[in-house]
């Protein structure tokens, strides 16, 4: 006699199983499980993962498709994807700095722009320079991520000279604040 007969063990297990269950019983339990499943989080791992922003080439805006990285005195420069105003780099300042005599606002409009050189998204703060009459060079109006004026908190037409000595708008900078 064999010490270990897998065939016989399997057969006796199946016979015990068959004798104690009915086909209808299994069907009803299976049905119950199907109905009840949505009530329980079956995949806690995927549920705990937050949705990510779509950075695929298909999701890019018209601006991002034609942006350039060479000339920061043109509206098509990649960092200007959500600027609405005149470029400080045309007004005696720079992309990071206010022209002499203008004061940077402590608040800004933040945009997410794609750098065409590496294809990555970056956070850009459009910081208005205030307290001098408006500079009239290089006016740009790019609206990535912008909503209409009836959603004012998502609209970049607003002048962001808050917390400055004067609310007079002069020009806008585009400061890189990090990766998005």
């Amino acid at each position: 006699m064999k010490m270990f007969d897998a065939d016989a063990i399997g057969e006796s297990l199946l016979r015990i199983f068959a004798g104690r269950t009915s086909r209808r019983g299994i069907l009803s339990r299976l049905g119950l499980a199907l109905v009840a499943a949505p009530a329980f989080p079956l995949l806690p791992v995927s549920r705990a993962r937050a949705a990510k922003p779509d950075r695929s080439p298909e999701a890019r805006t018209a601006f991002a498709r034609s942006a350039q990285t060479a000339d920061d005195s043109k509206c098509t420069y990649w960092r200007y994807c959500a600027i609405d105003g005149v470029l400080c780099s045309c007004c005696g300042g720079g992309i990071h700095s206010c022209p002499a005599g203008a004061e940077p606002s402590p608040v800004s409009w933040v945009g997410t722009c794609i750098n065409p050189d590496d294809g990555k998204a970056y956070l850009i703060a459009y910081r208005d320079c205030c307290g001098k009459p408006a500079c009239r060079q290089c006016a740009c109006d790019n609206g990535d991520r912008e909503a209409p004026l009836y959603v004012p908190q998502l609209n970049n037409d607003v002048i962001w000279c808050f917390g400055t000595r004067s609310m007079q708008y002069h020009c806008s900078t585009a400061v890189l604040v990090g990766a998005a």
């Binding site: 608040v107 933040v110 703060a125 998502l154 808050f162 917390g163 990090g178």
Partner: protein, 160 residues
């Protein structure tokens, strides 16, 4: 992750493990809140509530905790995924709140955010609502009376 501005919104203490994606939480904060409230949670002297070392006082009571999520720009954020919004708020509270955030405070969950954002504060005075929660934080959680102001630095006016 290393990038040029990682030092700008550096959390004062380790972020809770409940934040599923800390890099995304930080960049969502900067993109959706940091323009006005400041990349580091401060935009003084602009007339905005300072978050740095202060926002954690609003975890004082269940009502003020709910208030944070019910604020219209949070409740109606274009971040529709509740876990992603919970991550953003947890970055704000635990990353910028500093000592104002109670040691034993538990992070916001996607479920809590999903529930509270249904009750967005749309027909109430946000100033009065804030004042109410500030008073309870002063009374119950040792918040400084300067919390009555939008940012510290000016002398506190005596309450009439």
């Amino acid at each position: 992750m290393h990038h040029a501005a990682s030092a700008e919104a550096e959390p004062a203490r380790p972020l809770p493990a409940a934040i599923t994606d800390p890099d995304l939480a930080r960049s969502d904060y900067v993109e959706n809140c940091g323009g006005c409230h400041g990349v580091q949670g401060s935009a003084a002297p602009a007339q905005l509530p300072e978050l740095r070392n202060r926002v954690g006082y609003f975890l004082c009571t269940p009502a003020s905790r709910a208030y944070l999520i019910r604020l219209p720009n949070i409740a109606h954020s274009r971040i529709t995924d509740n876990q992603r919004l919970a991550d953003l708020v947890n970055f704000m509270v635990f990353g910028l709140g500093g000592p104002s955030t109670p040691r034993d405070a538990h992070p916001f969950t996607a479920e809590e955010v999903a529930h509270e954002r249904q009750f967005a504060l749309l027909s109430t005075s946000l100033k009065k609502e804030r004042a109410r929660h500030v008073e309870s934080a002063i009374r119950k959680c040792h918040a400084p009376i300067s919390l009555r102001l939008l940012f510290p630095g000016k002398p506190v006016l005596r309450q009439p």
